[in-house]
Homo-oligomer: 198 residues x 3
């Protein structure tokens, strides 16, 4: 380009500029187009976690990651589904449920306080032991971590389809939980830098 | 810049332009370079799921996410490995297998129809109960969800190394499954907005 | 713009250029701004894996993915937490531990060599059988895969909080492991194309 410009007589500077600007404009137009394409291929500063498990240790891991991410400024969503719904229950309810739902209700834990770890049940004492070990080391309890998550603005979603299948009613869940479908989860997940299934 | 231009005699307009265009060109060149770098740091509208588990509840979660994502327009790959291969088996085969392979063959489920949930076995009735609870609420069966996934273009991959280790032959898998290595999985995963290990 | 240009006499070409360049400059400025925004929404050629599980089969899956990713040129971090710390232990130590820590120490595996699979324990022979099946097919052992991961530059992190809670001391871990907090994990994860929780 500069060579061509050098060969031209000085008075045609404006014409050279026209050419140059034209080519610059082409490059800008191309950049604009590429950028538009890239916008669709970018994600946000966001972490989205499926909490499928209802095991105390796994729910804890989810809470530690969620609160850590929120503290670092990421927007965080936790989508509780299947056994993970147990962590969001505040009460057992039997009325208005069919037999299978009642059985499911009784056989699954209701609330963080009834979750047990996936390993080392220690004849049922596993949760108490894990909690004691955490307390001994000054680590926040599951309940404190959950409260912290809420404070930090972590969005807590309960999977509508799982609730329906397991017969868990909205009034059995703790307050502030949003009931949502898989599409809501995927909307967040497809805009996230971190996506996990726990 | 416009102030400088105003002070210059009219005949030097072309020279000013040259300068300006030069600086614009520099900025465009820098943009082009940055954009090229960003292209390598972008991902596609894609979800890639490792199905490691052969538990009915987890495979179901994978199918619900996969079909939901495909319905939303994401390209979806499911990479079945280890126990997750069970979901893709259509038959048991003993011939041409060594003793360990035969034992593995007999002791792992063959097909969606033989998967059991990870919790609440209900003395072996767990799968039947989960299926009934899903049907009662009008949720599609695992088989229907899998068929829907295929219809929506979800790519189903079977992990070659796991097949080899477990002694599962290609003709034991349902049709339309692609046998692939971890590199194929990673190729998809490293171009995905959503990556999960189930 | 072109209309305005058409009305101007030919000698004012430089002025037209001024206008045009001005508009080009605006577009470039806009592009620069958008690009800066996109930089924050991009990730790197990186895979970050939480190894929460201490099951041999799951740890193996993590190692296969990690080495595969590293071989493909991705930067890989493995963040071992909870039961996943077992894979990084080189010895059992009882001294300087309280009773619960000693119990935890004894009841959890120490090192890749003591991990057992999540399914098919075969009355305790599960690990030996899985290892034999892998060897029969020429697949690298867990120990070889781990060594390969290190050779390929995979970063191996041990979760500080879990170590603290479970009473695992730094000198119980194999060499070359970095003890790190959840913030270090999240720093890597939020810059990754592939994020998994195993």
């Amino acid at each position: 380009m500069s060579e061509t410009a050098a060969k031209l007589p000085p008075e045609s500077g404006a014409a050279v500029m026209e050419l140059k600007a034209g080519s610059l404009e082409d490059r800008i137009a191309r950049l604009e187009q590429q950028l538009q394409g890239l916008e669709r291929r970018a994600v946000s500063n966001r972490a989205t976690i499926v909490v499928f498990s209802g095991d105390l240790d796994k729910v804890l891991a989810g809470l530690v990651i969620a609160t850590g991410a929120a503290a670092m400024g990421l927007e965080v969503s936790m989508f509780h589904t299947f056994w993970g719904l147990s962590a969001l229950r505040k009460q057992r309810k039997v009325r208005g449920k069919n037999l299978l739902e009642q059985a499911m209700n009784v056989m699954t834990p209701a609330g963080l306080g009834s979750l047990t770890p996936s390993k080392l049940s220690f004849a049922g004492a596993g949760a108490a032991i894990l909690r004691k070990m955490m307390k001994d080391k000054g680590v926040q309890s599951p309940e404190e971590l959950f409260a912290l998550a809420r404070e930090l603005g972590v969005k807590v979603l309960a999977c509508e389809m799982s609730m329906d299948v397991m017969g868990i009613h909205r009034d059995e869940l703790i307050d502030g939980v949003e009931v949502a479908g898989v599409a809501a989860y995927l909307g967040d997940a497809a805009d996230s830098k971190v996506t996990l299934f726990i």
